[in-house]
């Protein structure tokens, strides 16, 4: 229990960010028209591709002879990149369709 409390103390700043981001996330898309639901979902999908950063760190610091770590990191970076690149491109294609209409 003590350990958990010190852990919270150590990560105070992060916890503040979490709480503020929760409110910001709710606020920011509060009044989105229903036609934009799908592109917005897709855009948000691309943004959580930021997990790729973690994958790059995993791969980048794996010891060169630790093949398991390398393989996991390699796969993680591929999947993360798919999420980022695919996510943003698909969203752009969707929004392109909407633009033509106006």
């Amino acid at each position: 229990m003590d350990k958990l409390l010190t852990w919270i103390g150590d990560h105070q700043q992060m916890i503040y960010i979490v709480i503020l981001m929760i409110f910001l996330g709710i606020e920011v898309i509060g009044r989105v028209p229903s036609v934009l639901h799908t592109p917005l979902m897709s855009g948000a999908n691309a943004i959580h591709g930021v997990v790729l950063i973690g994958a790059i760190i995993v791969l980048g610091r794996a010891a060169s002879d630790n093949y398991i770590a390398l393989a996991i990191g390699f796969l993680a970076v591929i999947l993360g990149t798919l999420n980022v690149v695919g996510g943003f491109v698909v969203t752009d294609r969707m929004l392109e369709m909407f633009k033509k209409k106006r």
Binding site: G25, I53, I57, F74, V77, I78, L79, V84
Partner: protein, 465 residues
């Protein structure tokens, strides 16, 4: 100096994520918002590669990183460019699953690094959260993807929700035990949790109807966001934390908004496959009345000699992939001097904007697509309305029956037209699970069958007239 510059990269990324999400919720700025967020993401990624220091040491394995980025980037780009407009939601689901898997792999790798030490219980907790949420999101997204492209059918069996709950409970209990209990079996328990989380993800999405998948994807999307944020905690990385939590929160709100737009509750969507059967809606004891069927040749006749025809597309059109056949019918009728328009309900197809995208793919002109209010103004001057696989969006109960679950939802007033032909596969109720009185009205006639086949047959009949 390096680390400070990286902090600025992450700051830029965080701001662009917030800004991008904000701009994505307004039609005028949406496209720019997406590009801005993408730009911020690029800054964060390259900043990490070149500036990240792990206890003062730069990253290495650049060859591996470059190769992985290249493979993932090319595959992502090709997939996103090649995919048909109709298959967009399943693509989003697939990419979402990749993100979830990525988060899970990061946690697995970090658990490996932690090794036998595992002194930091806080870190272990975050790792577990990341791997559980990531795995559920990955497995669930894969099932959602399979369902949307028709490879996986809805599966529902008795006690399914109880079983799901049990597995979830087991996952949580094992995780808690791992964090607070002795560590002697840590590795086995850890991988047991991964496997159980994957199974839970599969079972969680399996019973949910195909039409509700966009809502489920949106929910899983916010899960992946939270999983990414767990990674942010692990690496003390503000960009991952901001982006992840932002998507987690916004995704949850979006999920609820999507449910609201189709007049459902999230609970109803998630356990809907059971709720519908248990409650045969308000009209359970009500007399069903009789409906009238129309033959193909009669329908063809009615359409060919009408002055103005309005087509109301719905989910049935999307499942049957009948948009091209629909456009063909439109062209044929126009050649015969019939005025043909489309009435688009905002939530038709159960995915906002679904019909616009679908018909755009078949080259239907935007000028012929009428929005709800316009369409309702034109129905009184319309001779024949053709309802193609739409149900709840034309259900008069939304106006007249306060006990109906969709009461209050604006609908397309197809009854104002002189006649109405409804194409459905069967008399089964729509996704809201309620009977539709429209089918029993004297002006309505039913034309059963798969939308694509019926349309093709109609085209044949009209050509033969």
């Amino acid at each position: 100096m390096g680390i400070d510059l990286l902090a600025i990269c992450y700051l830029i990324a965080s701001v662009t994520f917030i800004l991008g999400l904000k701009m994505l919720s307004d039609p005028a700025t949406a496209r720019r918002g997406n590009l801005i967020a993408g730009g911020g993401m690029t800054v964060a990624i390259f900043g990490t590669i070149f500036l990240y220091r792990d206890h003062g040491r730069a990253l290495h394995n650049f060859g591996w990183i470059a190769a992985a980025l290249l493979i993932g980037g090319t595959a992502g780009l090709l997939a996103a460019k090649k995919i048909k407009m109709t298959a967009m939601p399943e693509m989003v689901s697939l990419f979402n699953g990749m993100g979830g898997a990525c988060a899970a792999l990061i946690s697995i790798s970090e658990f490996g690094r932690l090794g036998a030490i595992a002194a930091d219980r806080g870190e272990l907790l975050i790792i577990l959260a990341g791997v559980i949420i990531g795995s559920v999101s990955f497995a669930g997204s894969m099932i959602a993807w399979g369902k949307l492209n028709g490879r996986i059918k809805d599966v529902a069996f008795r006690g399914q929700h109880a079983l799901n709950l049990l597995i979830l409970l087991l996952v949580v209990v094992t995780a808690v035990y791992l964090v607070v209990g002795p560590q002697d079996m840590a590795t086995i328990l850890f991988y047991a949790i991964v496997v159980m989380a994957l199974i839970y993800g599969v079972l969680f999405v399996l019973p949910i109807g195909g039409a509700d998948m966009p809502v489920v994807i949106s929910l899983l999307n916010s899960f992946t966001g939270v999983a990414a944020a767990c990674g942010g905690f692990l690496y003390d990385n503000k960009a991952m934390l901001t982006g992840g939590i932002l998507v987690g929160a916004a995704g949850t709100v979006l999920t609820i908004l999507m449910c609201k737009a189709m007049n459902r509750s999230l609970r109803n969507v998630l356990i809907g496959s059971f709720g519908v059967k248990a409650v045969p809606a308000a009209g359970g004891g009500k007399e069903q009345g009789i409906y009238r069927e129309i033959s193909l040749s009669d329908a063809a006749m009615v359409l060919a000699y009408a002055r103005k025809v309005m087509i109301v597309p719905g989910y049935g059109l999307a499942v049957a992939q009948a948009q091209h056949a629909c456009h063909e019918l439109e062209k044929l009728l126009t050649e015969k001097g019939v005025e043909v328009k489309y009435a688009i309900h905002p939530v038709a197809g159960r995915m906002p904007g679904h019909m616009n995208v679908l018909l755009a793919e078949a080259d239907v002109s935007y000028d012929n697509l009428l929005e709800l209010e316009q369409a309702n103004e034109e129905f009184p001057t319309t001779d024949v309305v053709v309802v193609l696989g739409a149900n709840d969006v034309v259900n008069p109960a939304a106006k007249s029956d306060p006990s109906s679950p969709i009461y209050g939802m604006p609908i397309l007033d197809v009854e104002l037209a002189k006649a109405c032909i409804v194409n459905k596969r069967s008399m089964k109720p729509g996704y809201a699970g309620i009977e539709n009185d429209l089918f029993f009205r004297p002006k309505t006639s039913m034309l059963f069958g798969d939308a694509k086949k019926v349309l093709q047959d109609l085209i044949g009949e009209i050509k033969n007239l």
